[in-house]
Symmetry: C2
Subunit: 244 residues, 2 copies
């Protein structure tokens, strides 16, 4: 099994992903929030890579059961129902709903990888479930970290390393790209106290300044979810019954 | 002092570098080769970001004292005098010469950063000299790793971490970006035996397959040079007498 890792999605071509198995990670906060929404009963999430497209997508097609969620530069967007805090996506708000979702980096990374054969959503919250799924598939795969505006995000790299480490505990002969190997070593150092890492990384500090410390606590809950959201046919869904 | 690091140059805008202090690293092999050329008496190196531009630049302007060097995908380019192996840039070949230089990643990274106030060339061979220069300047700086076709290269990240570690040994209150912090930790793991790292990283393995094992040995010579090549006015030069 060959595992490749990308610390940003920006340099990758859409067609690169054709036929591949891909995991997208954006710990702060898009993929954490997507998992939270499904934990609380959301029906589906439609990731979009432009605000204009988000507005258009909710203007009629989905009737009254659609919410518009996301952020730009960590802040809720005017006219949106929800921001990008996992704590906003509670059962009373999202249960049974379709959510059109735009974020600065995470949803763009998901849309970029849309031609993948298998496209999974991971955060620190569902690593064991995603690892189990990847081990069942037993295919080469790519991890795409959302990063931050084209640059490296420590928290995404550490989460990628944690996922790879989980797989390597259960599988021999894993071949790692440079970035995959680096992320494993970064998890060895920064994954021991992931909450501390979140409070000290660049994006975490920005979120704390904006009043989102509780989001960091939420994002650091290792394996709090058994769900594996999957992008297929234009939206993210929970495709099958999953249990621990 | 704030130290930022970029694992690829591709997502950065040229104007980002305006007024900044920048160090470009491409261990395998552009910056290693540039330093080798100056150690052997080259007069100047003109980095270009397109082969066509390299051809044009040598067609007349520089008379008979100009060499054309570089590679595309690790291989020498037809019509070029030299490839991208530091071992080719011996004194009998390069002494007193201007060299127009094109490589797949390294020279593109240098050209991208051309609006920097200070733009230095570093490899594992001249880390102490570059660190000394940066400590004298005492300015915030950015390290730009050439990476590999828009992706992460372990050897460049480790070299960046080594440079930052050298500076942190002599200076307190250094503020690190996520990528700078990650590179320091990667140097702690992979910098202990840098030659071994070069033989095991993706680009190193490719070079070994192409018969360039000796280049890896050369690239792993820690502090074999006291020179700090600097880009200024369109070409890279040794701007002042430098000694250990």
């Amino acid at each position: 099994m060959k595992i490749s890792c990308w610390f940003t999605y920006n340099n990758l071509e859409e067609l690169y992903f054709t036929g591949k198995t891909v995991v997208v990670i954006d710990v702060l906060r898009a993929t954490t929030t997507i998992i939270a929404a499904f934990e609380n009963g959301a029906k589906e999430i439609v990731p979009v890579n432009a605000i204009e497209f988000a507005m258009k997508a909710t203007s009629g097609t989905f009737g009254g059961k659609t919410l518009l969620g996301g952020e730009r530069n960590a802040k809720k967007i005017e006219g949106f129902n929800l921001g990008n805090s996992p704590l906003e996506y509670s059962a009373d708000v999202v249960s049974g709903k379709s959510i059109v979702f735009f974020t600065t980096n995470g949803t763009k990374a998901i849309v970029k990888a849309k031609f993948a054969d298998h496209l999974f959503i991971a955060s620190f919250n569902n690593i064991a479930a995603v690892a189990k799924k990847l081990l069942e598939l037993n295919l080469d795969f790519d991890i795409v970290c959302a990063g931050k505006n084209g640059g490296f995000s420590l928290e995404d790299a550490v989460c990628a390393g944690k996922l790879i480490s989980e797989i390597m505990q259960k599988k021999d002969n894993v071949d790692l790209s440079d970035a995959a190997l680096a992320s494993v070593k970064l998890n060895d150092v920064f994954g021991i106290d992931f909450y501390k890492t979140l409070t000290e990384c660049e994006h975490g500090k920005l979120l704390i300044e904006n009043g989102f410390l509780d989001d960091l606590k939420y994002a650091a809950n290792f394996n709090s979810s058994n769900l594996v959201p999957q992008f297929s046919g234009g939206s993210i869904k929970i495709l099958e019954a999953q249990s621990s």
